[in-house]
């Protein structure tokens, strides 16, 4: 089996700027980031098929605007920004299509979870996902990035355009609300 080529971000960015090598380089970007972006998107949209569509849109958007990426920020930051925007847009569109209010968001996400054939969590995992779904959008985003991806606050700050202090406060509130929710539901 051929050894997988090591991913060198600086080299890939250099190749992305060259018309002759940009497509191959973007293939490397997809290979390197698809998994981590998928899980971030999946935790926001819940359903696997929806996550697949949003991930596809994320890479297409990144590819068609690759000329705008000048290497000032990290590639991962730029991709996460696109992925999060796409996820939020998707969830809002879906809510609008189903004519839901903000209060219905939690039940909408829970329904998504229960109808998803690619979710096989036990009772505890369902409860945790319900608790996360009960959070406001920004807190849900911060909680997912910190709890599951263990993302540092400074990187999160670059992606979300929010101060580190505000993100820490958001995470703190999210944890308290989840603990309270899980305490009440048993």
């Amino acid at each position: 089996m051929a050894a997988r080529e090591k991913y060198d971000e600086a080299q890939v960015i250099e190749q992305l700027r060259n018309q002759a090598t940009c497509k191959v380089a973007f293939g490397k970007v997809i290979e390197h980031y698809s998994s981590q972006l998928y899980w971030q998107i999946r935790r926001m949209v819940i359903d696997h098929d929806d996550a697949n569509d949003v991930l596809q849109n994320t890479f297409l958007k990144a590819w068609t605007s690759i000329d705008n990426f000048r290497g000032d920020a990290k590639l991962s930051t730029w991709l996460y920004k696109i992925a999060i925007n796409e996820s939020i847009t998707f969830v809002n569109k879906k809510k609008a299509m189903n004519q839901m209010s903000i209060d219905d968001e939690e039940s909408f996400l829970v329904n998504q979870l229960e109808s998803d054939e690619w979710f096989d969590g036990d009772e505890a995992q369902i409860n945790l996902q319900k608790a996360i779904a009960s959070l406001p959008e920004k807190q849900r985003l911060v909680f997912n990035l910190r709890y599951y991806d263990e993302m540092k606050y400074d990187e999160m700050s670059e992606i979300l355009g929010t101060s580190e202090g505000a993100l820490k406060a958001s995470y703190h509130h999210a944890v308290k609300k989840i603990e309270q929710y899980l305490g009440e539901t048993g």
Binding site: L16, N18, C22, R43, H48, G121, L128
Partner: protein, 136 residues
């Protein structure tokens, strides 16, 4: 150190219960790479700007100016330094020389002094002669 999320972490862990179909990521990567449309990449203009070219020289000049300023301030604060003494003496000499030259150039003052001197000498001589005559 106890993390604020340790209660959730201990009880629920990090497995969210979400799954993906087998070989999903390998298939996705291939499918995605195949569907990328052609795009036009604009090469980045790497020609340096005027400021980027002169910046090292400006920084160097600023550094030298800073060092010169520091040395000036240092010398000012230590006024009794050797260099200052030499400079002060040189300035004093220069001033004295100027006064002497002024004095030489001013002829009327010199003539007046000379006349006064001659008058006083003449008067003194006359007094001496009259004293000698009286004693005779």
């Amino acid at each position: 150190m106890k993390h604020e999320d340790s209660t959730i972490l201990n009880k629920y862990g990090k497995d969210s219960g979400f799954k993906v179909p087998e070989n999903y990521f390998a298939d996705f990567n291939k499918r995605m790479a195949d569907m990328l449309p052609d795009v036009e990449i604009t090469p980045i203009d790497v020609k340096p700007t005027m400021w980027q070219r002169v910046r090292p020289l400006v920084y160097l000049a600023a550094m030298f100016a800073g060092v010169w300023c520091m040395m000036s301030v240092f010398n000012m604060l230590n006024g009794s330094g050797d260099m200052n003494s030499v400079r002060a003496v040189a300035e004093k000499l220069s001033d004295d020389k100027g006064n002497v030259e002024d004095f030489i150039m001013s002829g009327s003052v010199s003539d007046y002094d000379i006349l006064n001197y001659e008058d006083s000498v003449a008067m003194s001589n006359e007094e001496n002669v009259s004293d000698v005559d009286q004693s005779k």
